[in-house]
């Protein structure tokens, strides 16, 4: 199908973009277009105005600043996949990107677009949740930052005001000896996951896990951290018994029930995949 008619705006600066957004309620921001374009083509959305962010050069880029990695909202998924900064500091993101769509969609799709579309099974929001990333947003009223934990307002809806645009996502890499895992189950490669699981483990000088983060995608309305499982792992030696017990917490969550999979099956996958992500992490320790 073809989109309903709309007015097209291609601002060259962030100030112009948020100015347009403030003037035109109901306008949609077009980033990589790998979700919005299908929604326009299928007429799931019929905005009067589309504001294209692709001509704003300052919104794309990966920068290391003060031990953090700041990624512009318009940075393409394919550029993240190939970035030495991502490979060095955020290796679990690189692993997760392999599961995001296909070459052709990663060539256009952006990190900001993924976060704002906020599909419950999408990989990049799960990675942002794993790292407690910080989302930067701007409007004509000013700039603010939002903790990733607060970013999902509800199903597929970010906690942005109608006149706000995402500008960047900032990650704090884990230092010291860390390990990571990312696994997912989908019916076909490149599909959204039925369930995905990601983990980050930090080890202290005594060889015990001193920090753990676990995230499930595809089970809830938004990516879900597993604080009970993280607590179970913290201070442990990370034996297979520790992992089995931690993974068991993943089965006690409330899961979505939809045409792709029932809630019971999702809970089962959540436990199995959490276990596999942890096993992958210790089988392949990062620096």
């Amino acid at each position: 199908m073809k989109p309903a008619p709309f007015r097209y705006h291609a601002p060259r600066s962030v100030a112009d973009a948020v100015g347009l957004l403030a003037e035109r309620p109901g306008a949609r921001l077009l980033s990589g277009g790998q979700s919005l374009m299908p929604m326009l083509n299928l007429r799931y959305v019929m905005p009067d105005d589309v504001i294209d962010l692709n001509r704003i050069d300052t919104l794309a880029g990966i920068a290391e600043e003060g031990g953090r990695v700041r990624i512009g909202g318009m940075t393409r998924q394919r550029d993240l996949e190939r970035s030495p900064v991502v490979a060095r500091h955020l290796p679990v993101m690189r692993e997760a990107l392999r599961w995001v769509g296909h070459i052709q969609t990663r060539n256009r799709g952006t990190i900001g677009g993924s976060l704002c579309h906020l599909d419950p099974a999408a990989e990049l929001p799960a990675i942002a949740m794993l790292y407690d990333a910080e989302v930067s947003a701007i409007s004509v009223r000013g700039e603010r930052s939002i903790a990733m934990a607060e970013f999902p307002a509800f199903y597929m809806t970010p906690a942005l005001e109608p006149d706000e645009a995402l500008t960047a996502v900032t990650f704090t890499p884990w230092t010291g000896r860390t390990a990571f895992g990312f696994v997912e189950f989908s019916r076909r490669h490149g599909d959204f996951a039925v369930v995905s699981a990601a983990c980050l483990l930090g080890y202290g000088p005594d060889g015990r896990i001193d920090r753990a983060a676990l995230v499930l995608g595809g089970v809830g309305a938004a990516p879900l951290r597993l604080p009970d499982a993280e607590a179970r792992l913290t201070g442990s030696r990370g034996t297979s018994e520790d992992f089995t017990e931690a993974a068991a917490f993943a089965e006690r969550i409330e899961a979505m029930d939809d045409a792709h999979a029932g809630a019971d099956y999702r809970r089962h996958l959540a436990r199995v995949l959490t276990g596999r992500a942890l096993a992958q992490a210790v089988a392949r320790p990062a620096a």
Partner: protein, 163 residues
């Protein structure tokens, strides 16, 4: 709302100018405004890959990009693969050789995807090639011969480079 906008771009090395509605996607623009019907339109929601073209060297879904967004871009389509004298691109030659197409509807998108894959990772093994092709659907062949042709072309291309 129905105001048209001007789009100027280079396609297969030639400069084109046209006008279209803002809602026109790139694949429709190539077909209807420029008459380049080698790019096919399948699902129009980014799943089938039939409309894949190269924009500034990168394989993208032609249905998930507005023509307006390609203003100033360098586009390559299946019409730009063979040499001016008609000599087939190594990928096209390998597809003929391996019988890698039946109805041919998906073929232009697959070829344009593989142009990028062969540029980036000419040493891709079969598993990597299958992953690279996962964004292109073919309902005739079962993919066996497509993968075979892709690997043959990759070998031909890296052979040329090594020489």
């Amino acid at each position: 709302m129905d105001d048209t906008i001007a789009v100027a771009l280079r396609v297969n090395g030639r400069t084109f100018q046209g006008r279209c509605e803002p809602r026109t996607h790139l694949a429709d623009f190539l077909r209807h405004e420029l008459g380049l019907t080698g790019t096919h339109v399948g699902c129009e929601h980014g799943v089938c890959g039939a409309c894949t073209v190269l924009v500034d060297g990168r394989a993208v879904r032609g249905c998930l990009m507005l023509a307006a967004q390609a203003d100033g871009a360098e586009v390559r389509t299946v019409e730009g693969l063979a040499a001016a004298d008609g000599t087939l691109h190594p990928l096209q030659a390998a597809f003929v050789e391996a019988h890698a197409l039946q109805c041919g509807f998906c073929t232009p998108g697959i070829l344009m995807t593989l142009v990028e894959v062969l540029n980036d990772t000419p040493d891709a093994d079969e598993a990597e090639m299958r992953e690279a092709l996962s964004g292109n659907l073919c309902r005739c062949t079962g993919y066996q011969n497509i993968v075979k042709a892709a690997l043959t072309a990759a070998k031909a291309v890296s052979g040329v480079r090594g020489a």
